[in-house]
C-alpha cells in the first residue's frame, strides 16, 4: 500500500536529529543549566572551587543601581521601538502608493539594517562628537548654539541619543515588514470603503490598522526581545556610561565577568535577564491575546 512505508515508525529519524540536537544540547541547553547553577556560587573564572553563596547574588542585584538603570533603559529602548513602528507604518502606507522611485527609497532605508551594528555605532559616535560632529555643526550653523550638546556625555541625554541610533538602524526592517503586510491586504477592501464614503484617515483607522494586528504583535514581541537584550550600540558608544546612564543587562554581565572576574554574579544577572524576557513575552501574549468578536 502506498504510504504504509511512509507512516511506519522510523527509529532512524533520530539519526537525522542527532547533529542539530547535539549542537543544541552542548551550546544551548547545557549553558542554561550551567548558568543557573553558577548563579548560586562565587567563582573567579579560573579557580577549581566554586563557593556556594545561595541567593546572595540575587539580593545584591536588586539593590544595585546599575541593574535598575538597565531595566529603565530597556523600557526606553522599547519606547524607541514603538516610535520606530509608528514611523515605519506611516512610511509603509506612503510607499504603498504607486509613487515613482518607491523601490529605490525602500532599498535605501533598508541599508542601515544590513550593516553591522558595530559600524553603525562607530558612525553615529562621530555624528554626536561635540566638537567635530555634524550634528552640533548644523545646530550652530542655523544659530541654535544653545541646542548644541555633548550628546553622549550628558547622563540625561545619552540614553536618548542611543535610542535614536536604534530607531535609525531598525526602521528599514519594520518598514519592509509593514509593507509586505499591507500588500497582502486586499486593495478592493479599501476601495470598497472609499466608495462607501469613508475618508482616507477613516480607512486607515478602521480598516488598515486593525487588519495589521498580527504584524503589530510580531513587531512588539521583537521589540521586547531587542530592548531587553540591548548590547553592542551602547557598549561601543558609551561603554554603558556616563555613570551607568546607558547601561544594559548584557553590558552588566559583560563587565562583571571580563572586568571584575565576578562570574557568579554575572551569571545571576543573566539568569535574571532570561526570566524577565520570558515573563514579558508571556505577559504580552496574555494582554494582547486574540480578542473574540461575538
Amino acid at each position: 500500500m502506498l504510504g504504509r512505508r511512509r507512516n511506519k515508525v522510523k527509529w532512524g529519524a533520530y539519526l537525522f536529529l542527532l547533529p542539530a540536537f547535539t549542537l543544541f544540547a552542548v551550546f544551548v541547553a547545557y549553558p542554561i543549566g550551567f548558568n543557573g547553577y553558577l548563579s548560586f556560587h562565587n567563582w573567579n573564572g579560573v579557580s577549581d572551587t566554586w563557593q556556594w553563596v545561595g541567593l546572595e547574588h540575587f539580593e545584591r542585584m536588586f539593590g544595585e543601581r546599575t541593574i535598575r538603570l538597565s531595566l529603565r533603559n530597556a523600557s526606553f529602548f522599547f519606547i524607541g521601538h514603538l516610535v520606530n513602528m509608528a514611523i515605519a507604518l506611516l512610511l509603509a502606507v506612503l510607499l504603498n502608493n504607486p509613487i515613482p522611485g518607491r523601490n529605490l527609497a525602500r532599498t535605501l532605508i533598508f541599508i542601515p539594517f544590513v550593516v553591522a551594528g558595530s559600524i553603525v555605532a562607530v558612525t553615529w559616535q562621530t555624528i554626536y562628537d561635540p566638537n567635530l560632529g555634524p550634528l552640533n555643526a548644523i545646530l550652530r550653523g542655523v544659530g541654535l548654539d544653545s541646542l548644541a550638546q555633548n550628546w553622549l556625555a550628558d547622563p540625561k541625554l545619552a540614553i536618548w541619543s542611543i535610542v535614536v541610533v536604534g530607531i535609525w538602524a531598525g526602521l528599514g526592517f519594520n518598514l519592509v515588514v509593514y509593507l509586505a503586510s499591507l500588500q497582502s491586504i486586499d486593495q478592493s477592501l479599501r476601495d470598497a470603503a472609499r466608495v462607501d464614503g469613508a475618508g482616507r484617515l477613516q480607512v486607515f483607522r478602521f480598516l488598515t490598522f486593525p487588519l495589521l494586528r498580527n504584524t503589530h504583535l510580531v513587531l512588539i514581541m521583537l521589540g521586547i526581545i531587542g530592548a531587553v537584550q540591548g548590547f553592542e550600540v551602547p557598549f561601543i558608544m558609551t561603554g554603558g556610561g556616563p555613570y551607568g546612564a546607558t547601561t544594559t543587562l548584557a553590558i552588566e554581565v559583560y563587565k562583571n565577568v571580563f572586568n571584575f572576574s565576578e562570574f557568579g554574579y554575572g551569571a545571576a544577572v543573566s539568569v535574571f535577564t532570561m526570566v524577565i524576557l520570558v515573563m514579558l513575552i508571556l505577559l504580552q501574549r496574555f494582554l494582547l491575546r486574540e480578542q473574540r468578536i461575538d
Binding site: 511512509r6 522510523k10 551550546f27 544551548v28 522611485g101 559600524i119 562607530v122 532570561m274
Partner: protein, 269 residues
C-alpha cells in the same frame, strides 16, 4: 483604483524624497568624510593596501561560510525528520526547539566563554562557528520544516518505490526541492554571523582573528573616535568603515529581493 487627486500624488513623492534624504544623512556624512583632504580618494587606497584588511575579510568569510554550512546542514536534516518521518516524541522534541527561541544571547555570555575555553577552542574559527550555528539551528529547523510540510508526501512514496532509503529521499528529493527556503536560511545566517559583535568579542583574542564587526571598532579606537578625551584623528576611519561594510552592502544590493523577502518571511511566519 479611485481617482487620486494629482496634488496629493506630488505631495507623496515630495514627502518620500524628503524622508529618505533625511534618513540617508548619516551615510552621506560618512561618505563625505571618507574622501576628506588631505587623502581624498587616496584614503580608500590606503585602507585597501592596509595589510590587515584581507585578513579581516577572510576571517569573516570563514566564520560566515562555516556557520551557514553547519546551520543549513543540521537544520535541513532535522527539518526533514520532523516533516516527513514518523517517530516517538516528535512533538516533544519540536516543542523543545520552539522554547529555545526565547533564550536571550545575554544568558550565553558566561557559559559559552567557559565552554569554548574548556574545549580549547578559544580564539579559533570553530569556537565561534559552533555556538553561532547552535543558536541559529532551532529557528531554521522550524522554517525549513514548514516549507517541507508544503511538499507533497506522495514524493516520498515515489522515492521509496524507486528504492531510495530515508537519506536518499532527503538527499535526492527533499533537499533539492527546498532550495527556495535554503536561500532564506543562507541570507539570514549570513547577516547574523557576519554582523555579530558579542560572540567574536568574547570568543576571540588576537587581532589577526578579528572579524569585520570587531575590526570596525578597533579601527575607530586607533583613530581616537570612541574616546571622550584626547586627540581625534579620523584620517582613514570612514574609508575603512565603508570598505568593512562593503561586502554586506554588495551582497544585499545583488540579492535584494531574496534579502527583503527573507527578513519579512522570518518575521511574519
Amino acid at each position: 483604483m479611485l481617482a487620486g487627486d494629482k496634488s496629493l500624488r506630488y505631495f507623496n513623492f515630495f514627502l518620500m524624497v524628503v524622508v529618505t534624504t533625511v534618513l540617508m544623512l548619516p551615510i552621506l556624512h560618512a561618505l563625505n568624510r571618507s574622501v576628506e583632504p588631505p587623502g581624498g580618494l587616496g584614503n580608500y587606497i590606503r585602507v585597501l593596501t592596509d595589510a590587515r584588511l584581507p585578513r579581516f575579510y577572510l576571517n569573516s568569510i570563514i566564520v560566515s561560510a562555516g556557520t551557514i554550512l553547519l546551520t543549513a546542514g543540521c537544520a535541513s536534516l532535522a527539518a526533514f525528520a520532523f516533516s516527513k518521518l514518523t517517530f516517538p516524541f516528535r512533538n516533544t522534541l519540536l516543542l523543545t526547539l520552539l522554547v529555545t527561541l526565547l533564550v536571550p544571547f545575554t544568558t550565553m555570555i558566561i557559559p559559552l566563554f567557559v565552554l569554548i575555553r574548556g574545549f580549547d577552542l578559544y580564539n579559533t574559527y570553530l569556537g565561534l562557528i559552533l555556538p553561532l550555528a547552535a543558536f541559529g539551528v532551532p529557528f531554521h529547523t522550524i522554517l525549513i520544516a514548514n516549507y517541507m510540510n508544503g511538499l507533497p508526501n506522495e514524493l516520498m512514496d515515489a522515492a521509496y518505490i524507486d528504492g531510495c532509503s530515508d537519506f536518499g529521499a532527503f538527499w535526492r528529493i527533499m533537499l533539492p526541492l527546498s532550495m527556495p527556503v535554503q536561500a532564506v536560511v543562507i541570507v539570514l545566517t549570513f547577516l547574523g554571523s557576519w554582523n555579530n559583535y558579542l560572540l567574536p568579542l568574547i570568543l576571540l583574542r588576537d587581532q589577526e582573528m578579528h572579524t569585520v564587526a570587531l575590526a570596525a571598532v578597533s579601527w575607530a579606537n586607533d583613530a581616537g573616535a570612541l574616546s571622550q578625551f584626547g586627540e581625534v584623528s579620523y584620517d582613514t576611519l570612514f574609508a575603512a568603515l565603508f570598505l568593512l561594510a562593503a561586502p554586506t552592502l554588495i551582497v544585499f544590493l545583488l540579492f535584494q529581493r531574496v534579502f527583503i523577502g527573507s527578513v519579512t518571511s522570518g518575521a511574519i511566519k
